[in-house]
């Protein structure tokens, strides 16, 4: 074996496991040997992981076959797990242990994965830099002075730093795609309803979706195949059959695998404010897709800018209600010596929630208040529908939509501390697809300023995850961007 074990991706590792050339235990040991220098893990359960890996090896030796048997990963701490505490990056859930596993976690376990623990994230998945975790910031393995993106920053950093071949993430307004872009990995947010939300601690229920983060489209397909599917415990999960994404991907042949694919480029995704380095990398990626047979066409998404205010009304509105259950009564943190019920609520929540979470609860409660509901929440819902309609109009002229994931590469830690709105504005390209419930993907396509990775965003129509994976896979067959490893992660 020529490659270091920690460099192995899911597909590579699986084929070695299946061929009997690798044990899960060795793979896990190699990963655990690497120090977490980026604050990616909230909990790394070495003993538990080793035991689970040994059990997976034993199952395989006994002739058992599960699609991901022995594959190491870890879960964003927004997924509840029975084996490990779950905090959602918040003080208010310090020490909380769920009696059950999230459906996505249970399905991956069923498929045979070995969990190494829980990954850092922005508190309740609110943030796009992973600077809002109560348990410390996450650093970008490409440049530890920069953010990894958020909210799935721990997942992104761990995969980029070769602490894991893959991780689970969640995406409400870009929380899989943007950190994937910032750390040079591949991530997909499936169609809203594709993965069960049961056991995913809710931020904004109408937007939250689980998805895999890994180093290639193929690896993502491996994970997503296990994660997706209808769940009777989630009324918003969809009764759609899960296609054979891996089989479809492997069926790609020839030098023009994207022949006949029309990729729509919305003008609005290439505004003047787009950083030149990002623009250049994205254009280079698009040129590569063209070479593979795709046709680039112009489309319009005229309400792209409106996605920002719409999202930042709807998501906080839902969050303000979703987070009401953290009241210090039944579980999680409770303030000391409350003098009465109001004091219990106020101090528990003031002490338990960080500033960004409090800000969003306040915004959300405000826009739902009597007298403001029509002007804000209802208006936002109308615009949300129009944004979704714009996508349907655009998909009349193309099969996929492409553009940048974010207007810039990863910024410096602390750069947006005093201006939350500036951070909100950076979500402009991921929010429209989220509001429409469409599947979206981030694929690394080069480097920008400071050698930082740049991701290309692909957005498909409903249930078109296969087309996204196919396109990204074709690109990754022809290029090496997804194989690049951050310098900071080398040498260990």
């Amino acid at each position: 074996m020529t490659r270091a074990l920690h460099e192995l991706g899911v597909a590579e590792g699986l084929s070695l496991l299946e061929a009997g050339q690798l044990s899960s235990r060795d793979w896990v040991d190699a990963l655990l040997a690497r120090p977490d220098r980026y604050g990616a893990f909230l909990l790394r359960d070495a003993d538990g992981a080793r035991a689970a890996a040994a059990a997976a090896d034993a199952r395989r030796a006994a002739g058992e076959h599960a699609p991901l048997l022995g594959v190491p990963l870890a879960h964003k701490d927004i997924f509840v797990t029975a084996a490990h505490p779950t905090t959602a990056g918040s003080r208010i859930l310090e020490g909380y242990r769920s009696p059950f596993d999230a459906t996505v976690v249970a399905r991956l376990t069923q498929a045979g994965v070995v969990s190494l623990g829980k990954l850092n994230c922005d508190e309740f998945a609110m943030g796009s830099a992973n600077e809002n975790s109560a348990y410390g910031k996450v650093h970008n393995p490409w440049d530890p002075s920069r953010v990894p993106g958020g909210s799935s920053g721990g997942s992104a950093a761990a995969v980029a730093a070769r602490l894991l071949p893959a991780a689970t993430g969640t995406d409400t307004g870009g929380s899989i795609r943007q950190p994937a872009s910032f750390t040079g990995i591949t991530g997909i947010k499936p169609t809203y309803g594709r993965c069960s939300r049961y056991g995913m601690i809710a931020f904004a229920s109408s937007l939250d979706q689980a998805g895999p983060m890994a180093r290639s489209a193929e690896d993502c397909a491996h994970l997503l195949s296990a994660m997706a599917g209808f769940d009777e415990r989630d009324a918003t999960s969809l009764q759609q059959p899960v296609p054979d994404w891996l089989g479809d991907m492997r069926a790609q042949h020839g030098s023009q695998p994207l022949k006949g694919l029309r990729i729509g480029l919305p003008d609005e995704f290439f505004p003047a404010q787009l950083d030149a380095d990002v623009n250049a990398a994205v254009r280079a990626g698009l040129a590569q897709l063209e070479k593979l047979g795709a046709e680039l066409v112009e489309v319009q998404l005229p309400r792209t800018e409106l996605a920002i205010p719409v999202y930042y009304l709807i998501a906080p509105a839902e969050a303000s209600s979703n987070l009401s259950r953290f009241d210090g009564v039944r579980y999680g943190r409770r303030c000391e010596n409350p003098k009465d019920l109001l004091d219990l609520y106020q101090r528990t929540r003031t002490e338990g929630f960080g500033p960004e979470v409090q800000r969003r609860i306040l915004i959300g409660a405000y826009v739902l208040s009597h007298g403001y509901y029509d002007a804000y929440y209802l208006q936002a819902q109308k615009l949300r529908r129009m944004i979704a309609d714009d996508f349907q109009a655009a998909f009349k002229g193309c099969d996929l939509i492409a553009g940048p994931v974010a207007p810039s590469v990863a910024w410096k830690l602390g750069a947006q501390d005093d201006d939350p709105v500036k951070a909100y504005l950076a979500d402009i390209f991921t929010l429209p697809g989220s509001l429409a419930g469409l599947p979206g993907m981030s694929v690394p396509v080069g480097r920008g300023a400071g050698g930082m990775p740049v991701g290309l965003q692909l957005i498909g129509n409903y249930f078109m995850e296969g087309r996204l994976l196919h396109t990204a896979h074709a690109l990754q067959q022809a290029t090496d961007w997804h194989r690049a490893s951050p310098a900071a992660a080398q040498g260990v």
């Binding site: 779950t86 059950f100 415990r233 918003t236 259950r325 739902l368």
Partner: protein
Amino acid sequence: MNASPQLVRGYEVVIGLENHVQLSTQSKIFSGASTAFGAAPNTQACAVDLALPGTLPVLNRGAVERAIRFGLAVGAEVAPLSIFARKNYFYPDLPKGYQISQYEIPVVQGGSISFYVGDTKKTVKLTRAHLEEDAGKSLHEDFHGMSGIDLNRAGTPLLEIVSEPELRSAEEACEYAKTLHALVMWLGICDGNMQEGSFRCDVNVSVRRPGAPLGTRREIKNLNSFKFLVQAVNFEVGWQIDQIEDGLAIQQATVLFNPDSGETRAMRSKEDAADYRYFPDPDLPPLLIAPEWVARVRAELPELPAPMAARFVQQDGLPEYDAQMMTASLATARYYEAARDACMSPKLVANWLMGEISRRLNAAEQTIEQAPVGPALLAALISRIQDGTISNNAARQVFEALWSGESADVDAVIAAKGLQQMSDSGELERILDAVLSANPKSVEEFRAGKDKAFNALVGQAMKATQGKANPGLVNELLRKKLVSGS
């Protein structure tokens, strides 16, 4: 159709009801936990009911089906699309920090309920009926300096049925509530147990001068007996009129009724009313009810009380009032029909049910299902009245024996107590002859035109037979003898 308003001290009373009806599903409205009453605290609250992080609600179709059944029974529209919303407020027995309810678009829209107040029929329109989840219970008494929380009830399915403010007295409100109570039990959507909170009444009360715009209302919360409902409304009406007469304005408020003092007292006023920040629950897609579903529920609907009462009037010749009483509950109707079929005397069955049986059940606080005398036994008794074997008076004695459990055989009781009527005209004629010759004065008076004298002679005859003579026969024979001039 509706009775003219009765005034109280010159004021018209305006009442609307909101009833919380606990639907009789096995499991909760958004989780799989059991709804059974009386379990140890918090043993019937699952992860969803506890609002553990990551849990999600999934709608129980059984609750929807019961709502459809109700909607069809009251002639309402069953909305093809309705929306679940979140009502946000903090309270320890509300685990999620919001209650899932229907707000802007409820599942049942419109409809009406008809009932009798005395002999007068009244019809009240319904505004709506919507599905929602119940909260848990706060137990303030059992813990010193602390409150206990029992979440067993959290997530129990409720149908909140809202009437228009068309009721005009405590009695009307009470009859409306009783009729609604009977209907939901009739439909099998609620067990009707008021002690366990399966059927609760919130009553909105205001008063006004006739013709004036609606007064400010106060809402009496959580009444769990019809008696309290009447007491609470009457007290509240008196209180509101006193306020107005004293020149004070009524403040919109929520009030509680204290059964010990018989008084209502404000719990919170409008000023501190919460802003519930309602919005559609993003965890639950809109509730879509296909016409096929409604059609199936309609086909499975039992015969409803109103058409059944009409049938009793038409087929059995019962008076309207009796028919209404015979359809007061499904159990009563079943009892009536079984007894009627067995003795073919509808009016007598109705009389016994409304009289002797209902009096004894009320005294023992029992329901018709618990009656020691079932429909077959009552029918046997009535048959013996009909065929002249026993008198009405004797029947009451037989009934007492049956009810007390002394015997379950009508004929055996009649024989054992010697209650059979004397219907042998030969023997009776001899006795009557003796009575006539022993009472010449009465005979003379009767012949002189004094009818009272006839009754005296009948009384003597009954006395001579120790009450066993068939009174009809005595009358007939006596009259014949007196007219024929002997």
